[in-house]
Amino acid sequence: MRNALAFWRRFSRNRAALLGLFIVLAIIAVAVAAPFLYPDDPMGMVAQPFLWPLQDPEFPFGSDSLGRDLGAQIFHGAHVSLLIGATATIASVLIGVTVGSLAGYYGGWVDEALMRFTEVVQTIPPFILTIIVVAIFHSTIGTIVVAISIVSWPSVARLVRAEFLTLREREFVQAGIVMGMSDFRLIVTQILPNSMTPVIIAASLMMASSILIEAGLSFLGLGDPNVVSWGAIIGAGREAIREAWYISALPGIAIIAAVLGLNLVGEGLNDALNPRLRRR
């Protein structure tokens, strides 16, 4: 499609965005490669403890205080972190788009009720709220995703609502009314496709923050104990941070890379999709 090609040309003109895309693709490749490169349980104690990276050619990433292969943990951790980030983002976008479009389209008391509720959720500090949710329910990947979605959807809802408020008054929506479109058709086929640009941009940034929230939870020991995530490795390395700082540093670098990459992609999408900035 011609439009997609033009979009790619605008996006690829931005070097930083290309770098971000490269990082994100590399991390996805790492996550996909994990079960092939390290088919064994990453939690297994396979090596001598406190092996520094490059000290033993068999374990190029070194080992942690229990003798677990750090490389295996980081590779499998990429899988977990991306999975949680992506599903939490998809869930919050779904909730946010539904709430935002209903509020923006119908206005009046529907808008009032939904927006007051959104504000209530937003007044609670997000990280505290996720800790509460995870602490109440058992800590599994599922509950962590639910907890992150609960704190993330309000920003999407407000974004979508704002788009709907302006688009609702546009003439192509009035044309849809004159045609006799139902509310559902008007929302889904006319307004929603035209309000997705800021949502796509927000989603890439939201995925980065989801990964950070999950890392924070795992660092505090509130992560799913049955899987390895980057935050959990940092948390486990915390006790030996003065003697073996590499245990925390390596997954830390991975998190920084992922968040940086997603942010660069988000910025790049913003520049490429935002018509007001297209001239530059």
Partner: protein, 340 residues
């Protein structure tokens, strides 16, 4: 006369921060089958609101709107749906009235999809027929709105409005956004379509010369009210309302060095629709205004033949020849101001 469309005493007010906008204030009009009713007035006089009331994008505060004898005033969106097929709209800015993510073919097909007309192939045939009817090449169906020129876009808008074979099309300034050279083409297309398809138009414009070119009857609107209603020739030959006269004198005459006539108005700027003047709404600008004009609101009353109506205290009918004349004719030249 059996009216295809009738509005009776329709009122639409908008509540805004600073008060209430009296956009449409008691308008009555009707449209006969295959008739073109022109509606002129300055920007801000409530023309576009009237258009949106007619196709029921807005619901009126009071009054009655009938389509083919059916009262559609208070119908909800769902109830209105089957009636929508008989009345469509053409917008001033066609580009803004298209979903930017749809192709021209899809835009024209959309009304057929909404009303579940035919299967995919029949709809495609219908779209091709419509595009041919409005003078668009068939390959244009795959292109996006931004790839067309203004005139071609309005052709897409016209094709979309025709898709459901409506009996009435409300045209809200369909040529105002177009280049002068393109205007005539689009107007001629609309005239040809009326002749071919027996469709009625409510044709809205701020330009009296455009309306006078194509309308059968003309309604002149001022600040939410109809001030004069007459068939084209009558209005063109002998406008009665001072506002209609002002509009006509503002049409530039052809010829090199031809001067624009001084606008016979006391005040150039229209009053705010937030606080319309008392009595006759035009009295603040009217060069003939007398005491009664600011005190009492003139009703829209029939003058001479039944088809002609004027809302002005000063227009009277002499018994001798039944020709309406001005009661204070010499006042007409007394107070004029130049605007050019």
């Amino acid at each position: 006369m059996t009216a295809l469309f009738r509005m009776t005493d329709v009122v639409k007010h908008f509540r805004v921060e600073r008060g209430v906008v009296h956009a449409v204030d008691g308008v009555s009009l009707d449209v006969a089958p295959a008739e073109i009713l022109g509606l002129v007035g300055e920007s801000g006089c409530g023309k576009s609101t009237l258009a949106r009331l007619a196709v029921r994008i807005y619901a009126p505060n009071s009054g009655k709107i009938e389509l083919d004898g059916t009262d559609i005033t208070a119908m909800g969106r769902r109830e209105l749906r089957p009636h929508r097929t008989r009345m469509q709209m053409i917008f001033q800015d066609p580009f803004a009235s298209f979903n930017p993510r749809a192709t021209a073919g899809r835009i024209i097909e959309e009304p057929l999809i909404v009303h579940a007309r035919g299967d995919a192939k029949e709809r495609k045939d219908r779209v091709r027929w419509l595009m041919d009817k409005v003078g668009l090449p068939p390959e244009a169906a795959a292109r996006y709105p931004h790839e067309f020129s203004g005139g071609q876009r309005q052709r897409i808008g016209i094709a979309r409005a025709l898709a459901l074979s409506p009996s009435l099309i409300v045209c809200d300034e369909p040529v105002s956004a177009l280049d002068v050279s393109i205007r005539a083409q689009v107007i001629n297309l609309l005239m040809k379509l009326r002749a071919d398809l027996d469709v009625s138009y409510i044709f809205i414009s701020h330009d009296l010369s455009v309306v006078a070119h194509m309308a059968d009857r003309i309604a002149v609107m001022y600040l939410g009210k109809i001030v004069e209603l007459a068939d084209r020739q009558t209005l063109w030959r002998a406008p009665l309302h001072p506002y209609t006269r002002a509009l006509m004198s503002s049409i530039p005459t052809a010829g090199i060095g031809g001067k624009r006539a001084a606008l016979p108005l006391r005040n150039v700027d229209p009053p705010s629709p937030l606080a319309p003047p008392t009595g006759c709404r035009f009295h603040t600008r009217c060069p003939h205004a007398e005491a009664i004009c600011s005190a009492q609101e003139p009703p829209l009353r029939a003058i001479g033949s039944d088809a002609r109506k004027v809302a002005c205290h000063l227009v009277t009918e002499t018994a001798s020849d039944a020709l309406p004349v001005w009661s204070s004719e010499n006042a007409a030249t007394k107070r004029t101001i130049s605007t050019s």
